[in-house]
């Protein structure tokens, strides 16, 4: 089963789901946020997982995407949906490029610290200058419904379908990137920058490209998060905690893999639900939302530590190992072939 066929299959199943089940909770509270977070994690993974540029400011870029879309929708009425998405992503990409410039001089912690500068500055700016929130009185803005060709994406299923379409498309493109020569260049500068230079990789162009593409994806994720999921936009939804959450997603899901973003996001979305059910069952009297919040912190933190120690390549790698053990080895199959990371030869045989 090649990656492309897998993607088509999952997409078909996901798109067909509303035909079978239409209860709004599933879409509103689980699937739509899952899609938005996955996209954000995908963007961060390209930057931090593949290219090795640590960023702790991803939620700031989600905010930029959301606010861009908000302003575009309100200030340029009649702008087509595709244009809104592209432009929001584009604005985020441009700003991401600027904040990515320090990566040309800084590495590791120092780079991480500079991304925090982006995080705090953007949060402050969006809060401080009323222009961004169209001078609304309260800090919270409600996001107008997205629309295309006269159809308003308002129902839970409609918003879910929109998110699905956007995420599937961008994931396919990201996947193609990861398999291309440029994708290899990203990993090269992560693993050995000097060697990459010597073989002719332009580190400057590659790093900036990583920031550009990553920020684009995260910006669009911000649009989905605010417009398709929450339907409100507020700076407090895009805090350092959210940035950490996205980082946790790729650590748990699996760095430097496409599927890792999705596995991690699914985990992150389902964890609070599972924990609150567990808590309600075990300690019905005292398990309130405060306790849930704190327990969530403890569990998340412990999992991060656990994964870093035991399986640094996340659930994606764990799943792969179990998958390989479960399947009988067919004669003729290469023992080292990986189901979702086909080596170059396979991607060339008959695939796009």
């Amino acid at each position: 089963m090649t990656a492309l066929r897998f993607l088509v299959l999952v997409t078909a199943l996901a798109a067909g789901l509303p035909l079978v089940y239409s209860g709004s909770y599933l879409y509103d509270a689980i699937l739509t946020p899952f899609l938005a977070l996955s996209l954000a994690a995908l963007g961060l993974n390209l930057l931090t997982g593949y290219a090795g540029q640590v960023s702790l400011g991803s939620s700031a870029f989600m905010a930029i995407g959301a606010y861009s879309a908000y302003n575009l929708t309100l200030r340029i009425p009649g702008l087509p949906l595709v244009a809104i998405l592209l432009a929001s992503g584009g604005i985020t990409a441009a700003i991401g490029l600027v904040f990515g410039l320090p990566s040309l001089r800084l590495r590791g912690f120092y780079l991480a610290v500079s991304t925090l500068a982006a995080q705090f500055f953007v949060q402050w700016a969006l809060n401080k200058f009323g222009w961004f929130s169209h001078d609304s009185a309260s800090g919270v803005i409600s996001a107008p419904a997205l629309q295309a060709f006269g159809f308003r994406f308002e129902s839970p299923v409609a918003r879910y379908d929109l998110s699905l379409a956007v995420v599937v498309l961008l994931t396919a493109l990201a996947f193609r990137l990861s398999r291309s020569q440029t994708g290899l260049n990203l990993i090269a500068i992560r693993d050995h920058e000097t060697a990459a230079r010597v073989i002719g990789v332009s580190v400057v162009k590659t790093k900036l490209l990583a920031f550009l593409i990553s920020s684009f994806l995260i910006g669009v994720a911000g649009v989905l998060w605010s417009f398709a999921y929450l339907r409100t936009i507020e700076p407090n939804g895009f805090t350092l905690d959210r940035s950490f959450q996205i980082l946790f997603i790729i650590i748990i899901g699996g760095v430097a893999t496409i599927r890792g973003a999705f596995i991690g996001a699914a985990f992150m979305v389902l964890l609070p639900l599972g924990l609150s059910n567990l808590g309600a069952a075990l300690l019905p009297k005292s398990f309130d939302s405060g306790v849930l919040e704190m327990s969530l912190k403890v569990v998340q933190g412990s999992l991060i530590v656990l994964f870093l120690i035991v399986e640094p390549n996340g659930l994606a790698a764990l799943g792969q190992r179990l998958w390989r053990r479960a399947l009988p080895v067919r004669s003729g199959s290469k023992p080292d072939a990986q189901p979702f990371a086909p080596p170059l030869p396979e991607t060339l045989n008959g695939e796009i």
Partner: protein, 297 residues
Amino acid sequence: MMEELRFLIEVLVGGLLSGVMYSLVAIGFVLIYKTSGVLNFAQGSMILFAALTVVSLLERGVPMALAIAVSLVGMIVIGMAIERTVLRPLVNRTPITLFMATLGVSYVIEGAAQLLWGAQVHGLDLGIDDSPLEIQGVLVSSFDLVAAAIAATMVAVLSAFFRLTRTGLAFRAVADDPFAALAVGLRLPAIWATVWATSGIVALVAGLLWGARLGVQFSLSMVVLKALPVLVLGGFDSVAGAIVGGLAIGAAEKLSEVYLGPLVGGGIESWFAYAVALAFLLIRPTGLFGRKPVERV
């Protein structure tokens, strides 16, 4: 004119005193980084835990000295537990992996602290008077002065310890080259345990001082975010750098808040320190005092 100058000095002094407190937090980081190469993001949560423990015990009628002692023991235990269960298994991994592990640890400690003691805000009275003093016509908060004095003393003691004692020398040896240190017979686990215990003590002092100043609540763990620009400026492995960096950041922050803030609507303390650190990094990518990493090809 004199009024303005006096005001400037007041702001500057306030900033410097603030800066000493930043230095104290930063030194907790430097300690760990110097000896194990780990940037311990969990330092902030440890500060919170220490302060929360003391305050909660005080509120239950436990005498101050005992509360501090219990908290101290707790800190030491936590520190050693982190070293043992998290850092030792990760000993060969990249620095950024270790950093992320400490990020995870910080979440665990924050969550545990508030599960244990609750999430409300507590006031902390250390018995330090907070009336303003007037020195040469300049108003200075006496609390700030005392806090700065305490912090400065700790900083001095730690600096001396590193430079002048055998154990301090051992710490530096381990930081420089763990294998060589092993080869000359230094016992790494004992040293690391001591380092983490010391860091725990620093966290306790910082927690008490900051807690008295800001109130003991969750945002105390965010103090660590103030320490990062200090570390960037001063280098992650330099005590002197932490001092100079702390003073610089403290002063710059206060001055910008008063003089630049009103120009852009205020509230710039949330990011100004980072902007300073970033600007600085672009000129000197390894900080004021930090050592340049040598890459062998």
